[in-house]
C-alpha cells in the first residue's frame, strides 16, 4: 500500500461507531453482554514466532487400528469445553466413520502432534481445520488404496462407516482396517482434497452425548489431583492464619505441631513454609508461630 492510499485519520473528527454513556453500558453488562476483543490474530502471530506449526502428515492426527477403531491425536486437552467430543465428531465426519469407534488421545506429548496449548478459546478454530484436513486426506488416500484393492477406479467407490464399497455393487467392499492394517499410511496426496461443506454434515455439529460424560457421572474420570504416579512427592504451602502475620519462630519438630505425617520435611523460604509429603490430616495452625 502506498502512503497516499492511507485513509487520513483525524481523531478530532472521528466518531466512535459505538457510543454508550455509562448508564447504557452498565445496562448492557447487567443484561449479560460481555465486551471482548478477538485474540485470534495475536495467537496466530504468537504461533509463528514460536516457529512451530501443526504437522502436514495426516498420520500425526489419526491412526486406524487393526480392530477398526480409529484413534484421534491432539495436543489439546479436555477441560469441560467439549473438544473431546467435537474433535471426534470432526474426524468421524471427514473420515466417514461412526462416532462411537473414535478414541480420543489428548495431550500426550509422546503421541500427539505438537500444540501450543489449550487456552484462549482457540481449539476449534486452530486445531479444527488441520484435523478435518487430515481426515479428508486420509479418506481420499484410503479410497485410492481401495480402488487398487478392488481393481476399479476411485470415482466408482463410496465410503460409509469405515467401509469402502462399489457404488454399483456394494457387496464388493473393503474396510479401512483391512487397508491400513494398523500401520502408518505411507501414501499422501499432492493436492489436498477439499473438506466437506457443512450442509453435508451428518455428525459434526449435530448434538450428541458428550464422550466423557459416563466417566464423569461415575467418578471414574481422572482429574489432575486424582492421578498418582510411583514415587510421587507432595508439597503444600502453609499460609499464615491472618493477613499481615509474620513468622516469628519455627518449631524444631513441625510435624508434631502441625499434625503432619512423620516423614514430612519442612522448608522455609522468604517467610513461606512448606512441608512434604502431603498430609491427609487436617493441618492445624500453630498459632504461637505467628504474631
Amino acid at each position: 500500500m502506498k502512503d497516499d492510499e492511507y485513509i487520513p485519520f483525524d481523531l478530532g473528527q472521528s466518531e466512535n461507531p459505538v457510543t454508550l454513556d455509562r448508564r447504557e453500558f452498565l445496562k448492557l453488562l447487567g443484561g449479560g453482554i460481555i465486551v471482548s476483543f478477538s485474540m485470534g490474530d495475536l495467537f496466530a502471530l504468537q504461533e509463528r514466532q514460536w516457529g512451530r506449526a501443526y504437522p502436514e502428515d495426516f498420520n500425526a492426527y489419526l491412526r486406524i487400528g487393526e480392530d477398526g477403531r480409529v484413534s484421534c491425536f491432539t495436543g489439546k486437552i479436555e477441560m469441560g469445553q467439549g473438544v473431546v467430543t467435537s474433535f471426534a465428531q470432526m474426524l468421524a465426519e471427514e473420515l466417514d466413520i461412526p462416532l462411537n469407534i473414535v478414541d480420543m488421545v489428548m495431550g500426550d506429548t509422546a503421541l500427539c502432534p505438537w500444540d501450543a496449548g489449550t487456552f484462549g478459546s482457540r481449539s476449534t478454530k486452530y486445531f479444527g481445520p488441520p484435523l478435518r484436513q487430515a481426515a479428508a486426506e486420509a479418506r481420499a488416500v484410503l479410497i485410492e488404496l481401495a480402488a487398487e484393492h478392488l481393481r476399479t477406479g476411485p470415482e466408482s467407490l463410496a465410503a460409509k462407516d469405515g467401509i469402502i464399497f462399489m457404488k454399483k455393487d456394494p457387496a464388493k467392499k473393503v474396510s479401512y482396517a483391512q487397508l491400513a492394517k494398523g500401520k502408518t499410511i505411507e501414501r499422501h496426496l499432492e493436492k489436498k482434497p477439499a473438506i466437506k461443506h457443512y450442509s453435508k454434515h451428518t455428525i459434526s455439529g449435530i448434538p450428541t452425548d458428550r464422550l466423557d460424560s459416563r466417566q464423569k457421572v461415575t467418578g471414574e474420570a481422572k482429574f489432575s489431583g486424582d492421578i498418582r504416579v510411583p514415587g510421587m512427592l507432595f508439597a503444600r504451602i502453609l499460609r499464615p492464619p491472618a493477613h499481615g502475620a509474620k513468622l516469628t519462630s519455627e518449631q524444631s519438630s513441625p510435624a508434631s505441631t502441625l499434625l503432619l505425617p512423620k516423614k514430612s520435611k519442612m522448608f522455609r523460604s522468604s517467610g513461606i513454609m512448606t512441608w512434604s509429603p502431603f498430609s491427609t490430616s487436617t493441618v492445624m495452625w500453630p498459632m504461637k508461630l505467628w504474631v
Binding site: S213, V217, F223, D226
Partner: protein, 159 residues
C-alpha cells in the same frame, strides 16, 4: 492418636486405623483410592466433596472419619448397580448437565439425598435444596432439568 473406625462403604465393610479427626474426604481419596469424591474448596463452601452418610448428604471435607463409625457411606463409585447407571447418572448424561464434571459427583449425590426425601421436587425446591452446590461451568439449568427428569423416570423408586 490413631483409632480404628469401621463402617460400610458402598455396601462393603471397611475397617481402618487412622487419626480419628482426619476428614472423611482424605480417607476416601488417599487411603481408599476413591477419587470420585472431589477435593475442591476444602472448606465446606462448594459441595464437590459430598457423600452420603446413612442417606444424608454430608460435606466429607468437613466430616471427621470417626463420625462414620458404624454407619453406611455411599460415594459416587457406589451408585451404579451391577454396572448399570443410576437414573440420576443417566439423566445427567442425557441433559448434558456437566461440562468439566468436577462438581458432578457431589451434585448427583446431593440430588439423590433430595429425591429420597422428596421424590417429585419442583424446580424451586431443587434450587433451594442445592443452594451452596457450585458449578463453575454454569450447568445449573441443565442440572435442574436432569434431576427433574430422573425423578420422573424413577417414579419414587430412588435406589
Amino acid at each position: 492418636m490413631e483409632k480404628t473406625t469401621s463402617f460400610k462403604l458402598n455396601g462393603k465393610n471397611v475397617r481402618l486405623t487412622t487419626s480419628p479427626d482426619r476428614m472423611l474426604l482424605w480417607v476416601l481419596r488417599s487411603d481408599l483410592a476413591l477419587t470420585g469424591t472431589k477435593y475442591s474448596c476444602g472448606e465446606g463452601f462448594c459441595g464437590a466433596c459430598t457423600v452420603l452418610v446413612n442417606n444424608e448428604a454430608v460435606l466429607s471435607c468437613q466430616y471427621p472419619v470417626q463420625n462414620v463409625n458404624g454407619k453406611e457411606v455411599l460415594t459416587i463409585e457406589g451408585l451404579q448397580k451391577n454396572g448399570e447407571l443410576h437414573p440420576l447418572q443417566t439423566a445427567f448424561i442425557q441433559h448434558n448437565a456437566l461440562q468439566c464434571g468436577f462438581c458432578t459427583p457431589g451434585m448427583i449425590l446431593k440430588a439423590y439425598s433430595l429425591l429420597l426425601k422428596n421424590p417429585r421436587p419442583s424446580s424451586r425446591e431443587i434450587v433451594e435444596d442445592m443452594e451452596g452446590y457450585l458449578c463453575r461451568c454454569g450447568s445449573y439449568n441443565r442440572i435442574i432439568q436432569a434431576i427433574q427428569n430422573a425423578a420422573q423416570t424413577m417414579k419414587g423408586r430412588i435406589s
